[in-house]
């Protein structure tokens, strides 16, 4: 629908590349007057005023009006969206101007306001019982064509989970797909809202998207294109939540999508993002749905699914595993020699087909070749195989596979879907608890707005992924009757992505924020810390995820000699989950600060969480720390609530 600069994509199958240009609504008065049915216009305007139509909630939904101190203001920033000069803030004058526009003579029906603002037209004409015969334009061919192509009869909310080895992508994305009856899901069309920019400098993009400097647009693409993006290239598992919208409701939603075509609204990463804009579509579909008014501050795509669920629009979801998940699953069903065959077939052009291996059953041979082709495609998306090699190798594997016939039903065990994302813990967390450090007791309070801690239950999340924003830790020390800020983790990301025969990801972490350090005195001074790390992890039966990391540490603060300390060291540990009931994390970490204020910090810690339902847990922590030659022990017991 919208083609951004320099991105070169084609709206091929959907072909709704109707670029509707703003028509010349304000023709000179004398030109308009002779063709207009003025008495009828006045009558209609009168009816609208009597009905106080501009106060109707649906008018506010269609116009994206939001209440503020002075009245209302539309969230849409594109002036093309409004027909009255003060339409952004004045629902009455916008309604008036809209009705007048429907009566204005139009040179071309497809660019007329009736067509351009098809959702408003349908609603207004229904509410005011307009007689199409007395209007210059009676219908909208581009919208009819659009619907003919898409034939939407059912709609689904789609949520791609975290990107492989990238906990930050847990934040996620949501889109809606619409399907024609009896067609394949692959042929559905996805409706997705995102920022559009030619910006290629990542940090600039990230910051600008957070403060609303980019326009956001809806785009419509075939669902298979989205699946290639998420499932095949990004390796994200996808959840599909069927929306219980009727055909009439889907039609209203599509009218609104059509109306928003090439209309910009400033994209804000935290609130006016993809999920928020989908809320507006759902409100346009079903007027009783109230979602946008429930957003305060920010909306995380995963939370948006819960909100949509709470409005009764979705319940159960269908799991669509990514290519990576399929590869892991196939490998887990094969003996070692089968896995080795698959690896060899995908990575070299020598060797025989696995049918040469008499120890593999026909079933295993089929799975070996399936694994080989999936893995080769994975390697290709990772740019590890040149295209010519890829094409030849893929063909060779698939030719061998085609000779082995079709797998009977249930030959390959089904992938067990994990816990549905909306059934995992909520993303805000508060924690209260008690602790003992040095020789005194303290009480602790923690609060964080997002998102998932390594020690939280993995139900609905990706194992080994940790993403925490703005975790505030306050401590009250009874001894000196003082509340102190113990720490503030601005951003804390950790990705423990296990390596195996097929995947060799690098595990990594980055923590930054304010923390307290032991520097000998009574008071533990606060410093600013940046602590990145990189390493490896693997999955074991007994200890769960094992990891080692090389770490660097940078501390800055007035209390340090030369105002800083910089050093390096390492950490190692394990994270073991016990049947979703509890989790154990043991770790050691040793850092030598050689530059600036030099010292050595060693820590051994053991943390345990017990899960009491999705939104409650209790965690226990004990840590022994050594700073130069001083030892400290700290123990905490916390109760966590997710909301």
């Amino acid at each position: 629908m919208r083609i951004g600069p320099g991105r070169g994509y084609r709206c091929s199958a959907c072909c709704i590349s109707f670029f509707l240009f703003y028509c010349n609504l304000f023709l000179p008065g004398d030109l308009q007057a002779h063709a207009q049915d003025l008495p009828y216009l006045e009558e209609v305007l009168g009816r609208a005023r009597i009905q106080r139509l501009h106060e109707d909630r649906y008018w506010h939904v269609l116009m994206h009006y939001e209440k503020n101190m002075f009245g209302v203001k539309s969230r849409i920033d594109d002036p093309k969206f409004f027909l009255a000069p003060d339409g952004k803030t004045n629902p009455a004058s916008e309604l008036d101007a809209t009705i007048r526009a429907f009566f204005a003579p139009a040179e071309d029906a497809s660019t007329s306001p009736v067509c351009r603002f098809a959702a408003r037209y349908e609603w207004i004409s229904q509410r005011l019982n307009l007689d199409p015969a007395r209007l210059p334009v009676a219908g909208c061919t581009p919208f009819r064509d659009f619907m003919d192509r898409l034939k939407p009869e059912s709609a689904t909310l789609v949520f791609p989970m975290a990107h492989l080895n990238s906990p930050a992508s847990m934040y996620g994305h949501t889109l809606i797909i619409v399907e024609a009856a009896k067609a394949s899901k692959l042929l559905a069309h996805s409706i997705s809202y995102s920022a559009v920019t030619g910006e290629t400098f990542g940090p600039a993009f990230a910051v600008k998207s957070m403060i609303g400097l980019y326009p956001g647009y809806f785009s419509v693409l075939p669902y298979y294109a989205k699946l290639q993006e998420y499932s095949d290239v990004d390796h994200r598992d996808i959840w599909e939540y069927p929306l219980n919208l009727s055909e009439a409701e889907i039609r209203r939603m599509m009218l609104h999508v059509h109306e928003l075509d090439s209309i910009a609204s400033d994209y804000y990463f935290f609130d006016e993002n993809c999920s928020f804009l989908l809320f507006t579509l759902l409100e346009a579909a079903r007027p009783t749905v109230a979602l946008t008014e429930k957003v305060h501050g920010w909306v995380i795509p995963l939370d948006s699914i819960r909100m949509i669920r709470d409005q009764g629009l979705v319940s159960d979801a269908v799991y669509r595993p990514s290519r990576t998940t399929k590869i892991r699953h196939l490998a887990s069903c094969l003996p070692e020699n089968g896995q080795d065959w698959a690896l060899e077939l995908a990575t070299s052009d020598t060797g025989d087909s696995p049918s040469a291996d008499r120890t593999l059953s026909l079933r295993e041979q089929r799975m070996t070749l399936d694994l080989a082709s999936e893995y080769l495609q994975y390697l290709y998306t990772k740019d590890e195989v040149p295209v010519e090699t890829y094409q030849g190798r893929l063909l060779r594997i698939l030719q061998a596979r085609s000779r082995l016939g079709t797998s009977p039903e249930d030959e390959i065990p089904k992938i067990q879907p994990p816990v549905q994302p909306d059934r995992g813990h909520r993303s805000n967390r508060v924690a209260f608890g008690l602790g003992y450090a040095g020789d005194s007791w303290f009480s602790e309070f923690r609060i964080r707005p997002a998102y998932h801690h390594l020690m939280d239950s993995d139900d609905g999340y990706v194992e080994g992924a940790h993403l925490v924003f703005a975790d505030v830790i306050l401590r009250y020390h009874a001894r000196d009757d003082k509340v102190m800020l113990e720490g503030l983790d601005l951003i804390d990301i950790c990705s423990l992505s296990p390596r195996d025969r097929f995947f060799h990801p690098v595990s990594w972490k980055i923590t930054t924020g304010f923390t307290r350090v032991e520097r000998g005195g009574e008071e533990r001074p606060m410093v600013y810390e940046v602590n990145p790390g990189v390493g490896l992890s693997m999955k074991t039966e007994t200890l769960g995820l094992l990891y080692v990391m090389a770490e660097a540490g940078l501390l800055a603060g007035g209390v340090l000699e030369d105002n800083y300390s910089a050093g390096a060291g390492g950490s190692a540990g394990f994270v073991r989950s016990f049947h979703g009931f509890c989790k154990l994390h043991g770790s050691v970490r040793d850092l030598y600060y050689g530059l600036g204020d030099g010292f050595n910090a060693f820590e051994a810690s053991l943390q345990q969480s017990f899960f009491l339902g999705p939104d409650r847990s209790v965690s226990l922590g004990i840590a022994r720390r050594k700073t130069d030659s001083c030892y400290h022990t700290e123990a905490t017991l916390m109760g966590n609530l997710f909301f």
């Binding site: 070169g8 199958a13 290639q228 994209y267 893929l394 063909l395």
Partner: protein, 152 residues
């Protein structure tokens, strides 16, 4: 909140080496491997790309191969949807044809109006004739549609 988070994000960017390399997309026509787009490597890229939900550089999936440079097969020439679908799903469709089953193959049957009752036979025929459909590693989507058509 927005400003605070923006500041927090800045801190992370400063903490990491601020280089982002965006590789160009490959566009190899209408053969195998033409519509699979390369993932991005690099941790920084991942953090940036996936936290922002944006469409900069390669993050946006672009269908650049398509049928633009491909000749039209005869019988299905009028059926733009089949040609587009095959050219844009070359690799996944080849997977399914070799296996004799799968969502991409079902979708082809839907597009080609193969009645439900004849689908199993259709799938078996395609699987059995894999090498006639995918005649070489440089086979194009046009060839594929034409070769399937010849088997029907």
């Amino acid at each position: 909140m927005k400003r605070f988070m923006a500041a927090a994000a800045l801190v992370v960017f400063l903490a990491l080496p601020a280089t982002v390399c965006l590789a160009g997309q490959s566009n190899t026509g209408c053969g195998l491997g033409s519509v699979i787009f390369k993932g991005q490597e690099g941790l920084l890229f991942q953090v940036l790309a996936v936290t922002t939900n944006g469409t900069f550089g390669n993050q946006t999936f672009g269908i650049t191969s398509g049928t633009l440079n491909c000749a039209q097969p005869s019988r299905f020439a009028s059926n733009e949807r089949i040609n587009t679908y095959v050219s844009e799903n070359m690799d996944n469709l080849a997977n399914d044809i070799a296996r004799g089953q799968g969502e991409y193959l079902n979708t082809l049957a839907v597009l080609m109006d193969v009645p439900e009752g004849s689908r199993t036979a259709f799938y078996t025929t395609l699987q059995g004739n894999f090498s006639r459909i995918y005649t070489s590693s440089s086979v194009t989507s046009t060839d594929v549609v034409r070769n399937i058509e010849a088997l029907m």
